[in-house]
């Protein structure tokens, strides 16, 4: 209509909303259904983990770090322990390295699976896919409980090793779990990969490698743009250089590519776990650590490949028994920044899907 004045509407999505993965709040500006602008507002789950850790002994910060990415807590512990070990020059027991890898990969599997389930949920499916993956996660949590004593936050890694030795039959349980998960993965894919899923995900939020790197994206999001990069292979930490696995890449850089990368990575994790279970040596599970722990003055940055991307810890020691500064470089936080640029001129429904595809865990974003 000539002369008609149109205006955008501002829509507050969250912090209470069915599909904001916790307490994310997005200020969106809509022109009808089209998103003109979207700005995530963070901080609803900010627990000051970094500040808390500064006032605690090194080992006391461990449970706090655990609570960052609550879907794969073991990865947080792992990277924090690695940072302290590097700073204090602690060697890790051989057997513990294997246990760490198994635990990390188990958590990576569940991270990817729960992500895939909730992505489909964001695309508008009923709870079916999500509950399929949560059902499998339940079995994993049982495994974690058996070895560490608690389900959600295992608090299992220690400087120089791990807390407890493997209970009897646990390794067999792990193998059984993988077999079940492998079968269920086929089920899951049959359920999810329908034509509707294709039209909703193909070509949405396309990214080029160059953009992705400039945004600071890492992990599956970067690999989905065709960039062959995985810290486990290219900067091997722990004992990842001993395992044989592939780094999955896709060309398109859209939602579908991200999905493919993640689902394929689950299979690679199966491979790694199987190898680790086969090769695990006997021996002590934890090396002696000086007590109280007073690393030399200095700082270090350690990063690992979490299920979401580059998870890093920057640790500064002033020679006392508490960390002087602990910075967590969490992938969710860095990746979420890209939403602002990605969603422009997509539909409202895509906004939800794109936010879902980034794989944010709000504990990881807000810390």
């Amino acid at each position: 209509m000539p002369g008609a004045k149109t205006d955008t509407i501002k829509l507050n999505i969250g912090p209470q909303h069915p599909s904001t993965h916790g307490v994310l709040y997005i200020k969106a500006e809509l022109d009808g259904e089209i998103v003109k602008n979207a700005e995530p507002q963070l901080g609803y789950l900010h627990r000051a983990i970094e500040k808390l850790s500064e006032n605690r002994y090194y080992h006391q910060a461990l449970p706090a770090v655990d609570r960052c990415d609550y879907l794969c807590p073991n990865l947080n512990e792992l990277v924090y322990c690695m940072a302290v070990e590097k700073l204090a020059g602690i060697k890790v027991a051989e057997r513990a390295e294997y246990i760490r890898v198994i635990m990390a990969e188990l958590h990576r599997i569940t991270g990817h699976m729960v992500w895939a389930g909730s992505l489909v949920n964001d695309l508008g499916a009923m709870f079916t896919p999500l509950l399929y993956s949560v059902r499998d996660r339940e079995k994993l949590l049982d495994l974690v409980e058996k070895i560490s004593g608690s389900r959600m936050f295992p608090n299992y890694n220690r400087f120089g090793g791990v807390k407890l030795d493997i209970p009897e039959g646990w390794l067999q349980d792990v193998l059984n779990y993988i077999d079940i998960q492998e079968k269920n993965l086929v089920d899951f894919r049959n359920l999810v990969e329908s034509e509707i899923f294709d039209v909703r995900t193909k070509g949405v939020a396309k990214l080029t490698t160059k953009q992705a790197i400039n945004f600071g994206l890492t992990g599956p999001l970067l690999r989905a743009t065709g960039f062959d990069w995985d810290l486990r292979r290219d900067e091997p930490y722990s004992i990842y250089d001993r395992f044989d696995f592939n780094v999955i890449t896709e060309k398109d850089g859209d939602l579908r590519a991200i999905y493919n990368v993640r689902i394929a990575e689950v299979t690679e994790s199966f491979k790694i776990i199987r190898q680790a279970v086969k090769d695990i040596p006997a021996g002590p599970i934890c090396n002696k650590v000086p007590s109280p722990l007073r690393p030399d003055k200095g700082d270090c940055y350690v990063r690992i490949e979490s299920s979401k991307g580059e998870l890093g810890v920057y640790l500064v020691s002033d020679g006392s028994d508490k960390p002087y500064r602990l910075k967590l470089r969490t992938p969710s936080f860095c990746n979420l920044r890209a939403v602002q640029e990605l969603v422009k001129d997509y539909k409202l429904a895509d906004l939800i899907a794109i936010v879902g595809s980034i794989d944010i865990v709000l504990g990881d974003v807000d810390r």
């Binding site: 909303h17 809509l30 009808g32 259904e33 508008g124 509950l131």
Partner: protein
């Protein structure tokens, strides 16, 4: 019997029956969905949790009736009825058996579609009156969706109408006593089924409610009994549409197995077929993600409409040849 008494009696019988059916469908949906995603569903009240809905109803009645401060009060109150009433009106034209119906309209199909076109009005009003952006978006989506799906819906119906040569639902079923129209008009059946899902706002076309985007769309501000009216209206439409599919394409009360003709009352077949369709709709909801708004429109205007037209052309060509 004077017409007034007749009306009262039929109301007294049919209305509770309909409500029971609707309630049963809600229970049935919850149970089926639970089964699909590996849950249990309602189980505490009565056998298989059958009385769950009675308790839900009690809860809804007991709830506070909230009208948002800035809402348009009049429209806000009217809207649920505009959804609820037409949905129940349509039942008047649905024949359950040869002689079991409220009214045998000569233009039964026409009447049903006439009544159902009122529903989007209620939804848009609800979306507008709530003074909520989510419900407004839901209402607008619903309007766009219903308008663009009305056309292919009527066209898909025409397939059956052309074959039977009547707009009366009873006549249409009678025309299927030998061969069901799903065999003669398979494409029309598929189109009708797809379009029906959109018309019902059911997954994968449930944009107006779009839980993951619009929270609950147009009924986000409704509580208590007002919400229940929306719910009842929605599920009543589900029942009507399933019954309509049965009548138009699945041979209504005609027995699928000729040997059982006359042994099993036709009404059983009708109910079974209707619930089969209901089940399929629920099944789809439990499985598929949602389409996007623009994809929905493309699908309607660029895919369904031309295909429907082609189907009609071919049908009429064949009919002309046959009857020449």
């Amino acid at each position: 019997m004077s017409p007034l008494v007749r009306l009262l009696v039929s109301l007294a019988i049919s209305f509770p029956l309909l409500l029971l059916n609707v309630v049963f469908i809600i229970w049935f949906e919850r149970k089926t969905l639970a089964d699909i995603y590996g849950g249990i569903g309602p189980k505490h009240h009565g056998p298989f949790g059958l009385f769950q809905l009675a308790f839900d109803g009690m809860k809804l009645i007991a709830k506070e009736d909230v009208i948002p401060a800035k809402a348009d009060k009049m429209l806000f109150i009217i809207a649920p009825f505009l959804v609820f009433v037409p949905a129940f009106m349509t039942f008047a034209a649905i024949p359950v058996y040869n002689n079991i119906y409220a009214r045998n309209f000569d233009i039964g199909i026409f009447y049903i579609f006439g009544a159902t076109t009122l529903i989007p009005v209620g939804i848009i009003l609800a979306g507008w009156a709530s003074f909520n952006k989510y419900s407004l978006l839901g209402g607008l989506r619903s309007a766009a969706q219903q308008i663009s799906y009305e056309v292919p819906l009527l066209m898909a119906t025409l397939g059956a109408v052309m074959l039977s040569g009547s707009l009366s639902l009873v006549e249409i079923v009678k025309a299927q006593s030998k061969v069901w129209f799903i065999v003669l008009q398979p494409f029309a059946f598929i189109f009708f089924f797809i379009v029906m899902l959109a018309e019902l706002n059911r997954a994968p076309f449930d944009m107006p409610q779009a839980e993951s985007e619009l929270v609950a769309g147009y009924n986000v501000e409704y509580t208590g009994m007002r919400f229940a009216f929306f719910m009842f209206g929605e599920y009543a439409m589900l029942l009507v549409m399933s019954a309509l599919v049965t009548i138009l394409f699945l041979g209504g009360w005609n027995s699928p197995i000729p040997a059982l003709n006359g042994l099993v009352p036709g009404i059983t077949w009708f109910v079974l077929k209707t619930y089969l369709i209901v089940f399929i709709i629920i099944w789809i909801r439990g499985t598929f993600p949602r389409l996007r708004v623009d994809q929905l429109m493309h699908f309607s205007w660029k895919v369904l409409l031309p295909l429907n037209l082609a189907n009609l052309l071919i049908t009429s060509a064949i009919l002309t040849v046959v009857y020449l």
